[in-house]
Protein backbone atom coordinates (compact mmCIF):
# COMPACT_ATOMS: atom_id res chain seq x y z
CA UNK A 1 0.00 0.00 0.00
CA UNK A 2 1.43 3.36 -1.03
CA UNK A 3 0.36 5.59 1.84
CA UNK A 4 1.08 8.78 -0.13
CA UNK A 5 -1.74 8.00 -2.54
CA UNK A 6 -4.21 8.51 0.30
CA UNK A 7 -5.15 12.16 0.75
CA UNK A 8 -7.84 14.18 2.45
CA UNK A 9 -9.97 14.09 5.58
CA UNK A 10 -13.42 12.63 4.81
CA UNK A 11 -16.42 12.88 7.11
CA UNK A 12 -19.39 10.52 6.83
CA UNK A 13 -22.50 12.72 7.10
CA UNK A 14 -25.32 10.97 8.92
CA UNK A 15 -28.90 11.99 8.20
CA UNK A 16 -32.15 10.70 9.61
CA UNK A 17 -35.27 11.50 7.58
CA UNK A 18 -33.05 13.99 5.70
CA UNK A 19 -32.07 15.76 8.89
CA UNK A 20 -28.30 16.07 9.13
CA UNK A 21 -27.18 14.87 12.55
CA UNK A 22 -25.28 17.22 14.83
CA UNK A 23 -22.36 14.86 15.33
CA UNK A 24 -21.57 15.03 11.59
CA UNK A 25 -21.37 18.83 11.73
CA UNK A 26 -19.14 18.55 14.81
CA UNK A 27 -16.87 16.23 12.84
CA UNK A 28 -16.70 18.74 9.98
CA UNK A 29 -15.57 21.25 12.61
CA UNK A 30 -12.75 19.04 13.90
CA UNK A 31 -12.02 17.66 10.43
CA UNK A 32 -11.43 21.23 9.18
CA UNK A 33 -8.60 21.64 11.73
CA UNK A 34 -7.08 18.25 10.88
CA UNK A 35 -7.24 18.93 7.14
CA UNK A 36 -5.60 22.33 7.56
CA UNK A 37 -2.78 20.84 9.66
CA UNK A 38 -2.22 18.15 7.02
CA UNK A 39 -2.54 20.64 4.16
CA UNK A 40 -5.25 18.43 2.63
CA UNK A 41 -8.91 18.94 1.70
CA UNK A 42 -11.96 18.28 3.86
CA UNK A 43 -14.61 16.21 2.08
CA UNK A 44 -18.17 15.41 3.24
CA UNK A 45 -19.59 12.02 2.19
CA UNK A 46 -23.36 12.38 2.16
CA UNK A 47 -25.59 9.35 1.60
CA UNK A 48 -29.39 9.36 1.42
CA UNK A 49 -32.50 9.78 -0.68
CA UNK A 50 -33.41 13.20 -2.13
CA UNK A 51 -30.69 14.94 -0.18
CA UNK A 52 -29.05 16.97 -2.92
CA UNK A 53 -30.53 20.26 -1.71
CA UNK A 54 -28.67 20.03 1.59
CA UNK A 55 -25.16 19.68 0.21
CA UNK A 56 -24.47 23.43 0.44
CA UNK A 57 -25.07 23.27 4.24
CA UNK A 58 -22.05 20.97 4.48
CA UNK A 59 -19.87 23.47 2.62
CA UNK A 60 -21.15 26.20 4.98
CA UNK A 61 -20.04 24.03 7.91
CA UNK A 62 -16.48 23.72 6.64
CA UNK A 63 -16.29 21.13 3.83
CA UNK A 64 -14.25 21.90 0.69
CA UNK A 65 -16.09 19.29 -1.32
CA UNK A 66 -19.26 17.21 -0.95
CA UNK A 67 -19.62 13.78 -2.53
CA UNK A 68 -23.22 12.62 -2.39
CA UNK A 69 -25.04 9.47 -3.36
CA UNK A 70 -28.75 9.99 -3.92
CA UNK A 71 -30.74 6.75 -4.07
CA UNK A 72 -34.03 5.34 -2.77
CA UNK A 73 -31.92 2.39 -1.56
CA UNK A 74 -30.36 4.79 0.96
CA UNK A 75 -33.66 6.20 2.27
CA UNK A 76 -33.42 4.59 5.72
CA UNK A 77 -30.20 3.33 7.24
CA UNK A 78 -29.44 -0.33 6.60
CA UNK A 79 -25.94 -1.76 6.92
CA UNK A 80 -25.34 -3.26 3.48
CA UNK A 81 -26.46 -0.48 1.09
CA UNK A 82 -24.65 2.13 3.18
CA UNK A 83 -21.52 -0.05 3.45
CA UNK A 84 -21.49 -0.59 -0.33
CA UNK A 85 -21.75 3.15 -1.00
CA UNK A 86 -19.14 4.20 1.57
CA UNK A 87 -16.70 1.46 0.52
CA UNK A 88 -17.13 2.36 -3.17
CA UNK A 89 -16.38 6.03 -2.48
CA UNK A 90 -13.39 5.13 -0.33
CA UNK A 91 -11.93 2.80 -2.97
CA UNK A 92 -12.30 5.49 -5.61
CA UNK A 93 -11.21 8.52 -3.58
CA UNK A 94 -8.48 6.93 -1.39
CA UNK A 95 -9.01 9.05 1.73
CA UNK A 96 -6.24 9.53 4.28
CA UNK A 97 -8.77 9.78 7.13
CA UNK A 98 -12.46 8.85 7.50
CA UNK A 99 -14.38 10.17 10.52
CA UNK A 100 -17.78 8.76 11.51
CA UNK A 101 -20.08 9.71 14.41
CA UNK A 102 -20.22 7.02 17.10
CA UNK A 103 -24.03 6.74 16.93
CA UNK A 104 -26.07 3.55 16.55
CA UNK A 105 -25.65 4.05 12.79
CA UNK A 106 -21.93 4.90 12.85
CA UNK A 107 -21.04 2.09 15.22
CA UNK A 108 -22.81 -0.37 12.89
CA UNK A 109 -21.43 1.01 9.63
CA UNK A 110 -17.81 1.89 10.52
CA UNK A 111 -16.62 -1.60 11.57
CA UNK A 112 -18.36 -3.21 8.59
CA UNK A 113 -16.58 -0.86 6.18
CA UNK A 114 -13.21 -1.07 7.98
CA UNK A 115 -13.28 -4.85 7.54
CA UNK A 116 -14.28 -4.45 3.87
CA UNK A 117 -11.33 -2.10 3.34
CA UNK A 118 -9.02 -4.21 5.58
CA UNK A 119 -8.00 -1.15 7.55
CA UNK A 120 -7.89 -0.07 11.18
CA UNK A 121 -10.74 1.58 13.06
CA UNK A 122 -10.60 3.27 16.44
CA UNK A 123 -13.92 3.54 18.27
CA UNK A 124 -15.44 6.35 20.30
CA UNK A 125 -12.53 8.77 20.14
CA UNK A 126 -12.63 11.79 22.40
CA UNK A 127 -9.62 13.56 20.90
CA UNK A 128 -8.08 13.66 17.41
CA UNK A 129 -4.71 15.26 16.66
CA UNK A 130 -2.05 15.10 13.95
CA UNK A 131 1.44 14.00 15.01
CA UNK A 132 4.69 15.47 13.71
CA UNK A 133 4.91 12.43 11.43
CA UNK A 134 1.45 13.45 10.09
CA UNK A 135 -0.19 10.42 11.62
CA UNK A 136 -3.70 10.67 13.07
CA UNK A 137 -3.50 10.34 16.87
CA UNK A 138 -6.80 8.89 18.07
CA UNK A 139 -7.35 9.06 21.82
CA UNK A 140 -10.13 7.13 23.50
CA UNK A 141 -11.13 5.85 26.93
CA UNK A 142 -10.72 2.14 27.73
CA UNK A 143 -11.26 -0.11 30.74
CA UNK A 144 -14.55 1.52 31.60
CA UNK A 145 -12.99 4.98 31.44
CA UNK A 146 -10.12 4.13 33.79
CA UNK A 147 -7.48 4.43 31.11
CA UNK A 148 -6.97 6.67 28.08
CA UNK A 149 -5.21 5.16 25.06
CA UNK A 150 -3.79 6.95 22.03
CA UNK A 151 -4.14 4.73 18.97
CA UNK A 152 -2.45 5.04 15.58
CA UNK A 153 -2.92 3.21 12.30
CA UNK A 154 0.60 3.38 10.82
CA UNK A 155 0.58 1.12 7.75
CA UNK A 156 -3.04 1.03 6.58
CA UNK A 157 -5.28 3.61 4.94
CA UNK A 158 -7.76 5.12 5.38
CA UNK A 159 -7.21 5.84 9.06
CA UNK A 160 -10.76 5.36 10.38
CA UNK A 161 -12.16 6.76 13.58
CA UNK A 162 -15.57 6.98 15.18
CA UNK A 163 -16.15 9.94 17.49
CA UNK A 164 -18.66 10.40 20.25
CA UNK A 165 -21.41 12.97 19.75
CA UNK A 166 -20.96 16.17 21.73
CA UNK A 167 -17.17 15.97 21.99
CA UNK A 168 -16.08 18.10 19.02
CA UNK A 169 -17.32 21.57 18.14
CA UNK A 170 -19.13 22.76 15.04
CA UNK A 171 -17.81 25.75 13.14
CA UNK A 172 -19.90 28.88 12.90
CA UNK A 173 -22.01 28.65 9.74
CA UNK A 174 -20.47 30.60 6.86
CA UNK A 175 -22.95 30.82 3.98
CA UNK A 176 -20.41 32.64 1.82
CA UNK A 177 -18.13 29.57 1.64
CA UNK A 178 -18.08 27.86 -1.72
CA UNK A 179 -17.09 24.34 -2.66
CA UNK A 180 -17.53 21.57 -5.14
CA UNK A 181 -20.62 19.33 -5.00
CA UNK A 182 -20.31 16.03 -6.86
CA UNK A 183 -22.79 13.21 -7.37
CA UNK A 184 -21.28 9.73 -7.08
CA UNK A 185 -22.98 6.78 -8.78
CA UNK A 186 -22.92 3.42 -7.00
CA UNK A 187 -23.65 0.10 -8.71
CA UNK A 188 -25.45 -1.57 -5.84
CA UNK A 189 -25.25 -5.35 -5.56
CA UNK A 190 -28.78 -6.00 -4.37
CA UNK A 191 -28.18 -9.74 -4.06
CA UNK A 192 -26.34 -8.85 -0.81
CA UNK A 193 -29.31 -6.97 0.67
CA UNK A 194 -30.48 -9.65 3.11
CA UNK A 195 -31.85 -7.43 5.87
CA UNK A 196 -35.28 -5.88 5.49
CA UNK A 197 -36.57 -2.92 7.49
CA UNK A 198 -40.14 -3.68 8.53
CA UNK A 199 -40.70 -0.46 10.43
CA UNK A 200 -39.09 2.17 12.62
CA UNK A 201 -40.70 2.70 15.98
CA UNK A 202 -40.16 5.85 18.00
CA UNK A 203 -40.30 5.35 21.71
CA UNK A 204 -40.68 7.85 24.50
CA UNK A 205 -37.25 8.45 25.93
CA UNK A 206 -36.55 5.52 28.17
CA UNK A 207 -35.09 6.08 31.56
CA UNK A 208 -31.35 5.60 31.09
CA UNK A 209 -29.79 3.30 33.66
CA UNK A 210 -27.76 5.40 36.05
CA UNK A 211 -24.63 3.34 35.41
CA UNK A 212 -24.91 4.16 31.67
CA UNK A 213 -25.61 7.90 32.05
CA UNK A 214 -23.00 10.40 30.87
CA UNK A 215 -24.28 13.06 33.24
CA UNK A 216 -25.93 12.31 36.60
CA UNK A 217 -27.85 14.76 38.75
CA UNK A 218 -27.82 13.13 42.16
CA UNK A 219 -29.70 14.37 45.23
CA UNK A 220 -29.42 13.62 48.92
CA UNK A 221 -30.92 14.52 52.27
CA UNK A 222 -30.17 18.20 51.69
CA UNK A 223 -32.72 18.24 48.86
CA UNK A 224 -35.17 16.82 51.34
CA UNK A 225 -38.56 16.48 49.67
CA UNK A 226 -40.13 15.04 46.54
CA UNK A 227 -41.26 18.59 45.70
CA UNK A 228 -37.64 19.82 45.75
CA UNK A 229 -36.56 16.84 43.68
CA UNK A 230 -38.56 18.28 40.77
CA UNK A 231 -35.79 20.88 40.42
CA UNK A 232 -33.35 18.03 39.81
CA UNK A 233 -35.63 16.57 37.14
CA UNK A 234 -35.82 19.94 35.38
CA UNK A 235 -32.02 20.33 35.45
CA UNK A 236 -31.59 16.79 34.13
CA UNK A 237 -34.08 17.44 31.30
CA UNK A 238 -32.30 20.65 30.34
CA UNK A 239 -28.83 19.13 30.05
CA UNK A 240 -29.68 15.59 28.92
CA UNK A 241 -28.82 14.07 32.27
CA UNK A 242 -30.30 11.31 34.43
CA UNK A 243 -31.45 11.68 38.05
CA UNK A 244 -30.01 9.50 40.81
CA UNK A 245 -29.80 9.78 44.57
CA UNK A 246 -28.14 8.81 47.82
CA UNK A 247 -29.49 6.07 50.05
CA UNK A 248 -31.27 8.54 52.35
CA UNK A 249 -33.63 9.54 49.54
CA UNK A 250 -34.34 5.93 48.59
CA UNK A 251 -35.12 5.16 52.25
CA UNK A 252 -37.55 8.09 52.25
CA UNK A 253 -39.30 6.51 49.25
CA UNK A 254 -38.67 9.54 46.99
CA UNK A 255 -36.55 7.54 44.53
CA UNK A 256 -36.53 3.83 43.61
CA UNK A 257 -33.66 1.56 44.56
CA UNK A 258 -32.52 1.41 40.93
CA UNK A 259 -31.59 5.11 41.26
CA UNK A 260 -29.33 4.61 44.31
CA UNK A 261 -25.62 5.33 44.06
CA UNK A 262 -23.26 3.53 46.41
CA UNK A 263 -23.45 0.85 49.08
CA UNK A 264 -26.21 -1.57 48.08
CA UNK A 265 -26.87 0.59 45.02
CA UNK A 266 -24.90 1.11 41.84
CA UNK A 267 -21.34 2.18 41.10
CA UNK A 268 -21.35 5.00 38.58
CA UNK A 269 -18.68 6.86 36.66
CA UNK A 270 -20.34 9.50 34.49
CA UNK A 271 -18.53 12.37 32.79
CA UNK A 272 -20.22 14.79 35.17
CA UNK A 273 -21.72 14.00 38.57
CA UNK A 274 -23.78 16.56 40.45
CA UNK A 275 -23.79 15.77 44.19
CA UNK A 276 -26.61 17.97 45.45
CA UNK A 277 -27.27 18.09 49.15
CA UNK A 278 -25.23 14.92 49.57
CA UNK A 279 -22.90 14.92 52.60
CA UNK A 280 -20.65 12.24 51.16
CA UNK A 281 -20.85 9.17 53.39
CA UNK A 282 -18.01 6.78 52.60
CA UNK A 283 -20.43 4.29 50.99
CA UNK A 284 -21.73 6.96 48.65
CA UNK A 285 -18.22 8.17 47.76
CA UNK A 286 -17.21 4.59 46.87
CA UNK A 287 -20.09 4.49 44.41
CA UNK A 288 -19.24 7.70 42.54
CA UNK A 289 -15.61 8.70 43.15
CA UNK A 290 -14.53 7.55 39.68
CA UNK A 291 -16.78 10.14 38.03
CA UNK A 292 -14.72 12.33 35.73
CA UNK A 293 -15.96 15.68 37.03
CA UNK A 294 -17.82 16.12 40.31
CA UNK A 295 -19.82 19.23 41.14
CA UNK A 296 -20.98 19.38 44.78
CA UNK A 297 -23.43 21.76 46.41
CA UNK A 298 -23.86 21.53 50.18
CA UNK A 299 -24.78 23.88 53.02
CA UNK A 300 -22.13 22.44 55.30
CA UNK A 301 -18.65 23.65 54.43
CA UNK A 302 -17.15 20.71 56.32
CA UNK A 303 -19.14 18.07 54.34
CA UNK A 304 -16.96 15.16 53.23
CA UNK A 305 -18.27 15.44 49.66
CA UNK A 306 -16.05 18.52 49.17
CA UNK A 307 -12.93 16.35 49.59
CA UNK A 308 -13.92 14.50 46.43
CA UNK A 309 -15.41 17.31 44.38
CA UNK A 310 -13.73 19.06 41.47
CA UNK A 311 -16.00 22.05 42.01
CA UNK A 312 -17.56 22.74 45.41
CA UNK A 313 -20.28 25.30 46.16
CA UNK A 314 -21.20 26.05 49.77
CA UNK A 315 -24.87 26.96 49.71
CA UNK A 316 -28.50 25.84 49.77
CA UNK A 317 -29.18 23.59 46.80
CA UNK A 318 -32.90 24.39 46.96
CA UNK A 319 -32.14 28.09 46.42
CA UNK A 320 -29.43 27.59 43.77
CA UNK A 321 -31.21 25.05 41.57
CA UNK A 322 -34.23 27.18 40.52
CA UNK A 323 -31.81 29.98 39.51
CA UNK A 324 -29.57 27.52 37.68
CA UNK A 325 -32.55 26.06 35.81
CA UNK A 326 -33.67 29.54 34.74
CA UNK A 327 -30.18 30.35 33.45
CA UNK A 328 -29.74 27.04 31.59
CA UNK A 329 -33.28 27.38 30.21
CA UNK A 330 -32.08 30.51 28.40
CA UNK A 331 -29.41 28.46 26.63
CA UNK A 332 -31.81 25.78 25.45
CA UNK A 333 -34.09 28.52 24.03
CA UNK A 334 -31.19 30.09 22.18
CA UNK A 335 -30.20 26.76 20.67
CA UNK A 336 -33.73 25.93 19.52
Amino acid sequence: MNLNEYKGVYVFIEQKSREIQNVSLELLGRGRGLADTLGEELVAIFLGNEIKDQCQDLISHGADRVIYVDSPKLDKYLTEPYAQALAAISKFEKPNVILIGATSTGRDLAPRVSARLSTGLTADCTSLEISEEKELLMTRPAFGGNLMATIVCPDHRPQMSSVRPGVMQKLAVDNTRTGEIIEFGVNFDESKFKVRLIEEIKEAKQLIKIEDAHVLVSGGRGVGTAENFKNLEILADNIGATVSSSRAIVDLGIMGHDRQVGQTGKTVRPDIYFALGISGAIQHIAGMEESKYIIAINKDKGANIFNNADLGIVGDVNKILPLLNREIGKFSEKKA
Binding site: E80, P111, R112, R116, I151, L197, I201, G312
Partner: protein, 265 residues
Protein backbone atom coordinates in the same frame (compact mmCIF):
# COMPACT_ATOMS: atom_id res chain seq x y z
CA UNK B 1 -32.62 -23.91 8.76
CA UNK B 2 -33.54 -27.59 8.79
CA UNK B 3 -34.91 -29.30 11.89
CA UNK B 4 -32.21 -28.22 14.22
CA UNK B 5 -30.67 -24.80 14.50
CA UNK B 6 -26.98 -24.44 15.09
CA UNK B 7 -26.11 -21.34 17.07
CA UNK B 8 -22.58 -20.15 17.78
CA UNK B 9 -22.13 -17.61 20.56
CA UNK B 10 -18.84 -15.67 20.75
CA UNK B 11 -17.88 -14.78 24.31
CA UNK B 12 -14.95 -12.98 25.91
CA UNK B 13 -13.33 -13.16 29.30
CA UNK B 14 -12.92 -9.64 30.63
CA UNK B 15 -11.76 -8.03 33.86
CA UNK B 16 -14.73 -6.70 35.82
CA UNK B 17 -13.97 -3.07 35.03
CA UNK B 18 -16.34 -1.83 37.72
CA UNK B 19 -13.86 -3.32 40.22
CA UNK B 20 -10.83 -1.56 38.80
CA UNK B 21 -9.54 1.32 40.92
CA UNK B 22 -6.87 3.94 40.40
CA UNK B 23 -3.90 3.99 42.71
CA UNK B 24 -4.50 7.37 44.34
CA UNK B 25 -0.78 8.18 44.55
CA UNK B 26 0.71 6.73 41.37
CA UNK B 27 -2.39 7.31 39.27
CA UNK B 28 -2.00 3.85 37.74
CA UNK B 29 -4.60 1.10 37.37
CA UNK B 30 -4.83 -1.45 40.16
CA UNK B 31 -5.59 -4.68 38.34
CA UNK B 32 -4.50 -7.18 40.99
CA UNK B 33 -7.38 -9.07 42.47
CA UNK B 34 -9.83 -7.82 39.86
CA UNK B 35 -12.15 -10.73 39.07
CA UNK B 36 -12.53 -12.06 35.50
CA UNK B 37 -16.06 -12.46 34.21
CA UNK B 38 -17.98 -13.32 31.02
CA UNK B 39 -18.46 -9.99 29.25
CA UNK B 40 -22.01 -8.87 30.16
CA UNK B 41 -23.29 -8.34 26.58
CA UNK B 42 -21.90 -11.79 25.65
CA UNK B 43 -23.65 -13.36 28.61
CA UNK B 44 -26.90 -11.82 27.34
CA UNK B 45 -26.03 -13.40 23.96
CA UNK B 46 -25.74 -16.81 25.64
CA UNK B 47 -29.10 -16.29 27.29
CA UNK B 48 -30.76 -15.40 23.95
CA UNK B 49 -29.34 -18.60 22.42
CA UNK B 50 -30.57 -20.67 25.36
CA UNK B 51 -34.05 -19.16 25.06
CA UNK B 52 -34.13 -20.07 21.36
CA UNK B 53 -33.05 -23.59 22.26
CA UNK B 54 -35.94 -23.91 24.69
CA UNK B 55 -38.45 -22.53 22.19
CA UNK B 56 -37.33 -24.13 18.95
CA UNK B 57 -34.59 -26.64 19.76
CA UNK B 58 -30.98 -25.82 18.94
CA UNK B 59 -27.39 -26.91 19.37
CA UNK B 60 -25.30 -24.16 20.97
CA UNK B 61 -21.54 -23.78 20.66
CA UNK B 62 -19.76 -21.17 22.77
CA UNK B 63 -16.43 -20.00 21.42
CA UNK B 64 -13.84 -17.78 23.05
CA UNK B 65 -10.39 -16.54 22.10
CA UNK B 66 -7.88 -15.90 24.83
CA UNK B 67 -5.13 -17.33 27.03
CA UNK B 68 -5.58 -20.86 28.44
CA UNK B 69 -7.30 -19.52 31.56
CA UNK B 70 -10.12 -18.14 29.36
CA UNK B 71 -11.42 -21.74 29.57
CA UNK B 72 -13.19 -20.50 32.71
CA UNK B 73 -15.82 -18.58 30.70
CA UNK B 74 -16.54 -21.71 28.66
CA UNK B 75 -17.12 -23.65 31.89
CA UNK B 76 -19.55 -20.94 32.93
CA UNK B 77 -21.26 -21.16 29.54
CA UNK B 78 -21.68 -24.91 30.07
CA UNK B 79 -23.10 -24.19 33.50
CA UNK B 80 -25.74 -22.03 31.78
CA UNK B 81 -26.54 -24.83 29.31
CA UNK B 82 -24.50 -24.69 26.08
CA UNK B 83 -23.66 -27.96 24.30
CA UNK B 84 -20.12 -27.41 23.14
CA UNK B 85 -17.20 -25.10 23.91
CA UNK B 86 -14.21 -24.07 21.82
CA UNK B 87 -11.18 -22.28 23.23
CA UNK B 88 -9.11 -20.56 20.57
CA UNK B 89 -5.71 -20.22 22.12
CA UNK B 90 -2.32 -19.74 20.52
CA UNK B 91 0.46 -17.20 21.02
CA UNK B 92 -0.11 -16.16 17.41
CA UNK B 93 -3.53 -14.75 18.41
CA UNK B 94 -2.02 -12.49 21.08
CA UNK B 95 -2.04 -8.71 20.84
CA UNK B 96 -4.93 -8.64 18.36
CA UNK B 97 -6.96 -5.48 17.76
CA UNK B 98 -10.62 -5.79 16.79
CA UNK B 99 -9.88 -6.56 13.11
CA UNK B 100 -7.33 -9.30 13.92
CA UNK B 101 -9.71 -10.72 16.53
CA UNK B 102 -12.55 -10.84 14.02
CA UNK B 103 -10.23 -12.56 11.53
CA UNK B 104 -9.41 -15.30 14.05
CA UNK B 105 -13.06 -15.83 14.95
CA UNK B 106 -14.05 -15.90 11.27
CA UNK B 107 -11.37 -18.54 10.62
CA UNK B 108 -12.82 -20.70 13.37
CA UNK B 109 -16.43 -20.17 12.30
CA UNK B 110 -15.62 -21.30 8.78
CA UNK B 111 -14.92 -24.71 10.35
CA UNK B 112 -18.36 -24.88 11.96
CA UNK B 113 -21.95 -25.30 10.79
CA UNK B 114 -24.20 -22.54 11.96
CA UNK B 115 -27.45 -20.74 11.23
CA UNK B 116 -27.03 -17.87 13.65
CA UNK B 117 -23.89 -16.30 15.10
CA UNK B 118 -24.41 -14.24 18.25
CA UNK B 119 -21.90 -11.86 19.79
CA UNK B 120 -22.29 -9.27 22.52
CA UNK B 121 -22.56 -5.70 21.27
CA UNK B 122 -19.26 -4.73 22.93
CA UNK B 123 -16.82 -5.83 25.62
CA UNK B 124 -16.46 -3.77 28.78
CA UNK B 125 -12.65 -3.68 28.63
CA UNK B 126 -12.54 -2.11 25.16
CA UNK B 127 -16.09 -0.86 24.47
CA UNK B 128 -15.44 -0.81 20.69
CA UNK B 129 -18.51 -2.74 19.40
CA UNK B 130 -16.42 -3.57 16.32
CA UNK B 131 -15.77 -7.31 16.42
CA UNK B 132 -19.37 -8.41 15.65
CA UNK B 133 -19.80 -6.35 12.45
CA UNK B 134 -16.22 -7.10 11.33
CA UNK B 135 -16.83 -10.82 11.84
CA UNK B 136 -20.03 -10.58 9.77
CA UNK B 137 -18.10 -8.90 6.95
CA UNK B 138 -15.37 -11.56 6.90
CA UNK B 139 -18.04 -14.26 6.72
CA UNK B 140 -19.94 -12.34 4.03
CA UNK B 141 -23.10 -12.49 6.16
CA UNK B 142 -25.76 -9.93 7.03
CA UNK B 143 -25.48 -8.30 10.45
CA UNK B 144 -28.04 -6.92 12.85
CA UNK B 145 -26.41 -5.03 15.74
CA UNK B 146 -27.70 -3.54 18.99
CA UNK B 147 -30.34 -6.26 19.27
CA UNK B 148 -32.61 -5.94 22.30
CA UNK B 149 -35.17 -8.55 21.29
CA UNK B 150 -35.08 -11.42 18.79
CA UNK B 151 -37.18 -14.30 17.54
CA UNK B 152 -37.38 -16.88 14.79
CA UNK B 153 -40.39 -16.00 12.64
CA UNK B 154 -40.26 -18.57 9.87
CA UNK B 155 -38.05 -20.84 7.87
CA UNK B 156 -34.61 -19.18 7.72
CA UNK B 157 -35.94 -15.90 9.06
CA UNK B 158 -34.87 -13.98 12.17
CA UNK B 159 -36.70 -10.86 13.34
CA UNK B 160 -35.10 -8.42 15.79
CA UNK B 161 -35.64 -5.12 17.49
CA UNK B 162 -32.48 -3.09 16.89
CA UNK B 163 -32.11 -0.30 19.46
CA UNK B 164 -31.44 3.17 18.07
CA UNK B 165 -31.29 6.57 19.81
CA UNK B 166 -35.00 7.39 19.62
CA UNK B 167 -36.57 3.92 19.60
CA UNK B 168 -35.91 0.83 17.55
CA UNK B 169 -35.80 -0.60 14.04
CA UNK B 170 -37.82 -3.76 13.45
CA UNK B 171 -35.58 -5.78 11.11
CA UNK B 172 -35.76 -9.17 9.47
CA UNK B 173 -32.88 -11.16 8.03
CA UNK B 174 -32.38 -14.44 6.29
CA UNK B 175 -30.12 -16.92 8.06
CA UNK B 176 -27.26 -17.42 8.30
CA UNK B 177 -26.66 -14.04 9.93
CA UNK B 178 -24.71 -12.37 12.71
CA UNK B 179 -26.44 -10.63 15.63
CA UNK B 180 -24.89 -8.43 18.32
CA UNK B 181 -26.87 -8.43 21.56
CA UNK B 182 -27.34 -5.75 24.22
CA UNK B 183 -27.12 -6.71 27.89
CA UNK B 184 -30.53 -5.02 28.32
CA UNK B 185 -32.03 -7.84 26.22
CA UNK B 186 -32.51 -10.20 29.14
CA UNK B 187 -31.47 -11.34 32.60
CA UNK B 188 -29.06 -14.27 32.17
CA UNK B 189 -29.95 -17.42 34.06
CA UNK B 190 -28.02 -18.81 36.99
CA UNK B 191 -25.42 -21.48 36.48
CA UNK B 192 -25.78 -25.12 37.42
CA UNK B 193 -22.74 -26.62 39.12
CA UNK B 194 -23.58 -30.16 37.99
CA UNK B 195 -23.34 -29.02 34.37
CA UNK B 196 -19.81 -27.66 34.95
CA UNK B 197 -18.72 -31.00 36.39
CA UNK B 198 -20.32 -32.83 33.47
CA UNK B 199 -18.56 -30.56 30.98
CA UNK B 200 -15.15 -31.13 32.54
CA UNK B 201 -15.69 -34.88 32.93
CA UNK B 202 -16.85 -35.36 29.37
CA UNK B 203 -14.13 -33.08 27.97
CA UNK B 204 -16.63 -31.00 26.09
CA UNK B 205 -14.21 -28.12 25.73
CA UNK B 206 -12.13 -28.33 22.57
CA UNK B 207 -8.87 -26.40 22.35
CA UNK B 208 -8.03 -25.04 18.91
CA UNK B 209 -4.81 -23.37 17.79
CA UNK B 210 -4.07 -21.48 14.56
CA UNK B 211 -3.41 -24.72 12.65
CA UNK B 212 -7.02 -25.77 13.15
CA UNK B 213 -8.71 -22.72 11.67
CA UNK B 214 -9.19 -21.49 8.12
CA UNK B 215 -7.17 -18.26 8.04
CA UNK B 216 -4.01 -16.63 6.75
CA UNK B 217 -1.58 -16.21 9.68
CA UNK B 218 -0.63 -12.72 8.51
CA UNK B 219 -3.98 -11.28 9.56
CA UNK B 220 -3.80 -12.58 13.15
CA UNK B 221 -2.48 -11.20 16.41
CA UNK B 222 -0.31 -8.14 16.87
CA UNK B 223 1.23 -8.45 13.41
CA UNK B 224 -2.21 -8.61 11.79
CA UNK B 225 -3.54 -5.59 13.67
CA UNK B 226 -3.69 -2.34 11.68
CA UNK B 227 -4.14 -0.26 14.84
CA UNK B 228 -1.40 0.07 17.45
CA UNK B 229 -1.46 1.60 20.90
CA UNK B 230 0.98 4.51 20.81
CA UNK B 231 0.61 5.32 24.50
CA UNK B 232 -1.79 4.84 27.34
CA UNK B 233 -2.23 6.94 30.41
CA UNK B 234 -4.55 7.52 33.32
CA UNK B 235 -5.84 10.94 34.08
CA UNK B 236 -3.80 10.85 37.27
CA UNK B 237 -4.73 10.99 40.91
CA UNK B 238 -7.50 13.34 41.89
CA UNK B 239 -7.17 16.18 44.34
CA UNK B 240 -9.97 18.11 45.96
CA UNK B 241 -11.08 21.00 43.77
CA UNK B 242 -11.83 24.56 44.67
CA UNK B 243 -14.61 25.33 47.13
CA UNK B 244 -16.59 28.52 46.56
CA UNK B 245 -18.53 30.31 49.28
CA UNK B 246 -20.66 32.63 47.16
CA UNK B 247 -24.21 33.88 46.67
CA UNK B 248 -26.65 31.59 44.84
CA UNK B 249 -26.49 33.81 41.72
CA UNK B 250 -22.66 33.70 41.67
CA UNK B 251 -22.82 29.92 42.15
CA UNK B 252 -25.02 29.68 39.05
CA UNK B 253 -22.45 31.61 36.97
CA UNK B 254 -19.61 29.33 38.12
CA UNK B 255 -21.59 26.14 37.36
CA UNK B 256 -22.80 27.37 33.97
CA UNK B 257 -19.20 28.22 32.96
CA UNK B 258 -18.07 24.69 33.89
CA UNK B 259 -20.92 23.09 31.95
CA UNK B 260 -19.99 25.16 28.90
CA UNK B 261 -16.36 24.07 29.22
CA UNK B 262 -17.52 20.45 29.17
CA UNK B 263 -19.87 21.01 26.19
CA UNK B 264 -22.88 20.08 28.29
CA UNK B 265 -24.68 23.30 27.34
Amino acid sequence: MGDFMNIVVCIKQVPDTTEIRLDPIKGTLIRDGVPSIINPDDKAGLEEALKLKELHGAHITAITMGPPQAEQVLKEAFAMGVDKGILLTDRKFAGADSLATSNALAGALKKLDFDIVITGRQAIDGDTAQVGPQLAEHLGLPQMSYVKEMDIVGENLVRVKRAVEDGYQLLESETPCVLTILSEANNPRYMSVSKIIEAVREKKIEVWDTSMIDIDLEVLGLAGSPTKVKKSFTKGAKTAGKIHEVTPQEAVTIIVDKLKENFII
